[in-house]
């Protein structure tokens, strides 16, 4: 019992301090590298301006996709997709609610962002569904986009097993995400 409590509090300390510790390490290295932080703040503001540019660039995409997701959901089709896949998702222990996200994630980054926003609003970001969705979103890339950009750049047509392996890894991520969230909840 005491051992279990110890491991729980260790986990809490670890996850509570992860971001500040990481930032301290990054900034510490920057301080040493730049002779006391020279030009660091101007670099920061440049990068932050870049971030704002990204937000402005994704805004039209998000308007379009969030509307499409909202219509798809209000029509009842989103629930139908989840219900249709329920035998499969039950079998591999995934909450059916995250399936639309899992299906869109390898195809479109901004589309899956729109679904994620919807899942957060409906189920909250801190429940089992919200956290599983977070892990799925954070642990994968837009596989189809990556494959087409990189192979396209060197003119490769015969991509062999790349897409199959990438999509299998995505499937493993979805199953793994649901498992890890459940496992951490048990302490």
């Amino acid at each position: 019992m005491s051992e279990r409590m110890l491991s729980m509090s260790l986990l809490d300390i670890l996850s509570g301090n992860v971001l500040p510790v990481l930032l301290l390490m990054i900034l510490g290295i920057c301080y040493l590298r730049t002779a006391g932080g020279k030009d660091v703040f101007s670099g920061f503001t440049e990068g932050a301006a870049d971030g704002l540019h990204t937000v402005i660039k994704i805004f039209p995409t998000l308007v379009g996709l969030m509307t499409a997701v909202a219509v798809f959901r209000a029509s009842g089709l989103m629930d139908a997709v989840s219900a249709l896949l329920k035998p499969v998702t039950d079998m591999i222990h995934i909450p059916g609610e995250v399936m639309p996200l899992a299906l869109l994630r390898p195809v479109t980054g901004s589309g899956s962002l729109a679904v994620l926003a919807y899942l957060y609003r409906k189920y909250g970001p801190d429940g089992g569904i919200g956290r599983t969705a977070s892990v799925i979103m954070g642990s994968t890339e837009t596989t189809l986009y990556t494959v087409s950009v990189y192979f396209g750049a060197v003119g490769v047509k015969n991509i062999r097993h790349t897409l199959v392996a990438g999509l299998l890894a995505d499937l493993a991520t979805v199953i793994g995400a649901a498992f890890i969230v459940r496992w951490l909840d048990m302490g």
């Binding site: 704002l52 509307t67 209000a74 926003a117 970001p125 994968t140 097993h161």
Partner: protein
Amino acid sequence: MLDRIWIAMLIAGLAAGIAGGRGDRLAQELITSSREAVDLCISLAGTLCFWTGIMRIMERVGMARNISRLLHPLLRFLFPGVPKGHPAMGAIGMSLSANLLGLGNAATPLGIHAMKELSSLRADALLPDNTASDDMCMFIVMNTSGFTLIPTTILAMRSAANSADVSGILLPIWICSLFSLVFGVFMTKLLSRMPLWKLKSGSSGPHVRKDAVHESA
């Protein structure tokens, strides 16, 4: 692809909604969802800007190069077709490190550079022009698994949704993406040996070329 998904979702949604007698709800959603996109972008912006700022500093002080050096022994094992000291290895390392640090803007050009280096090795291995080498497949699968130290977008999205524990998600994300990376690497190695995908000229790499030339001579 996105074109098709977008229009299919809208047409199917509108048709099914109208047929199911949910026209009023559709009208409501059409109006509120575009406003929600504005709210989301505004609440995302702060967190996102802060972290892209930090990433820029990391880029400036050359942190990707350090990580790349740490990864080197592992990469030698994963990319057996790249000869020792070949620039392709440096390019692969830099690109994967940029991804690991979440330096999105830097990662894509670096990745394309790595692909070009790998492509030049492919010519040495007498592979047809349009066919991917084992190393190219491995590089891309590692890229698609998306292992990132600080998943900026997720942090921003969670704080926008008023999460009580924004960064509590980091640990499960690290565990899960490490698992999927290892799984992806394993599957890539395994599938490259399947009859359907196996390269006819044997494994890639400059050593093969010597044998092949020898045989034909």
